[in-house]
Point group: C2
Chain length 344, copies 2
Amino acid sequence: MPELRKDIVTREWIILAKERAKRPSDFSKADREEIPKTDPATCPFCPGNEHMTPPELLAYRRKGTERNGPGWWVRVIPNKFAALSYEGTLEHKEVGIYDVMSGVGAHEVVVEMPEHDKQLFQADKKQIEEVIWAYRDRYMALREDPRIKYILIFKNYGVTAGSSIAHSHSQIVGTPVIPQKIMSKIRGVDQYREYVEKCVYCDVIDWELQDGERVVSENESFVTIAPFASRSPFHLLILPKEHCSCFARMDRITIADFASILKDTLVRLDKCLNNPPYNYTLITAPVESDQLENFHWHLEIIPRLTTPAGFEIGTSIYINVTPPEEAARYLREISVDEGECKTG
Amino acid sequence: MPELRKDIVTREWIILAKERAKRPSDFSKADREEIPKTDPATCPFCPGNEHMTPPELLAYRRKGTERNGPGWWVRVIPNKFAALSYEGTLEHKEVGIYDVMSGVGAHEVVVEMPEHDKQLFQADKKQIEEVIWAYRDRYMALREDPRIKYILIFKNYGVTAGSSIAHSHSQIVGTPVIPQKIMSKIRGVDQYREYVEKCVYCDVIDWELQDGERVVSENESFVTIAPFASRSPFHLLILPKEHCSCFARMDRITIADFASILKDTLVRLDKCLNNPPYNYTLITAPVESDQLENFHWHLEIIPRLTTPAGFEIGTSIYINVTPPEEAARYLREISVDEGECKTG
């Protein structure tokens, strides 16, 4: 079983995925090069190859088709190379002066569509809605697990962004701790509210919509902005205009609007930056504090255009070479065919 | 002038280096590929090409040779593409709801040797000592600048680690704020001391030397360990055995021992992992708290063997596939010719 180990100085956890243990030769130069595209015939995420994955946790499929066979349009499976284990109890122990926790939780793959050669930004809006419903359904299922304290939904697109499989997919991880990065956002939201008596994200939305310079596009329910303190070029946030701590509370219309702005934003990035690698992360309140109304959920998109190096690693101060005002302007100027979202 | 912008939620600063502003086409796929090695004839760090860099800040050179000409064995120059500016006053201002600070500070390059094709691990111990003296001399000079609150010394080695010039070099950045990452280490050290009444790094050294499993090598003054909560494969720490908050207080003998263990550690990494890309960062107390004895300086080495992706970006929980116990064992088993350091 994997284990979590706590940094004795910073109190940040790491996950030691021993099952995937690698020897020095596994890190040879060849392994650091681009991973070849998988062939649909041997792609574990293609219809017909369902036997190559663990049994499905969820599939939206045509009536009359069988579990773990073709006929689905979105499919969720356990990650075969899971960083955390579904089995086992949550146990803490001390190893000398150090803290260890059993690596229990969840690690799932959302196969976003049956097509092997299509990417998320190329899918139609309806299909993206279905992906978001799958995120929501799995989130609702995982939050029932008392061992899970936080659920992160994310996507790695392109080798530079850490993806090893070409077939379009995202991932869901349920962790037995609330990550420090999330805690620092929660603390920031709480501190701002203490001083200003408002939600910081609501204030950002008001300010940005009024100012306009960093707005990429918007629709009825959402706005995409390049944040004022963008950590890297074309760093973006998609924010729900209405204050809401948990993404899973979106209703049908809001989900459609979310799919619409996500597609709009990804299409702009693709056209502007020529199919860039990116990571997105859906940041929502921790499971147990969904009732706490303070948090404001959002989706963060980080194109991987520059390499964080020693300075960023040592200080966590990021050096960004593209002002967000310019990034937003370039993205606004892209023309999007199905434009349901308006710019600036 | 560059500017610092504060994230309104997490209160982390970013540096916006507007002078290096990039357009979308600058991030084309070609730019994301490997950067070709520079030719010594056009290498700005080679002897004879001193006119290609800004005037030197420091050079250790043979008697009778002229400033900004050949004859040096270590040379420090301002970074031509500086992230922070030497000129200007430190000013805070508010832009709407956001905080901005003028991007003043320092950004320097330490050219570690005259040879173009040699790397730090291949230099002899004496040369590495000279590099450390240069770090120390520039640190002592920069700490006189009242605008500078923190000084980070770091090295990016290899394209994957963010290096764009092949000639062996490291960098020094003086920032007008104490970075949050450093603050979180200082807080961790203080909190541990409050509970246990000891230095956490001293306790780690005692524990690791006694346990032995994660020790790579040691000499009279230093020990290299794979930390218990290693964030990535072959993550290493070089720790001074004697408690000391500031690296610049090392005496002549300790500097020689530091050069010796740094060379030993880099040679082991090179042999074990076939010339891996890496970043190292020298983490020392903030300038103004050098008198505060709580901190324990150290050098952190992160080989860039895996790609942090959405999960790490969203949570700051790193997934590591190589147990530090195994990394340390592999590194101990490497035979090092000039072995002045002993293993476990």
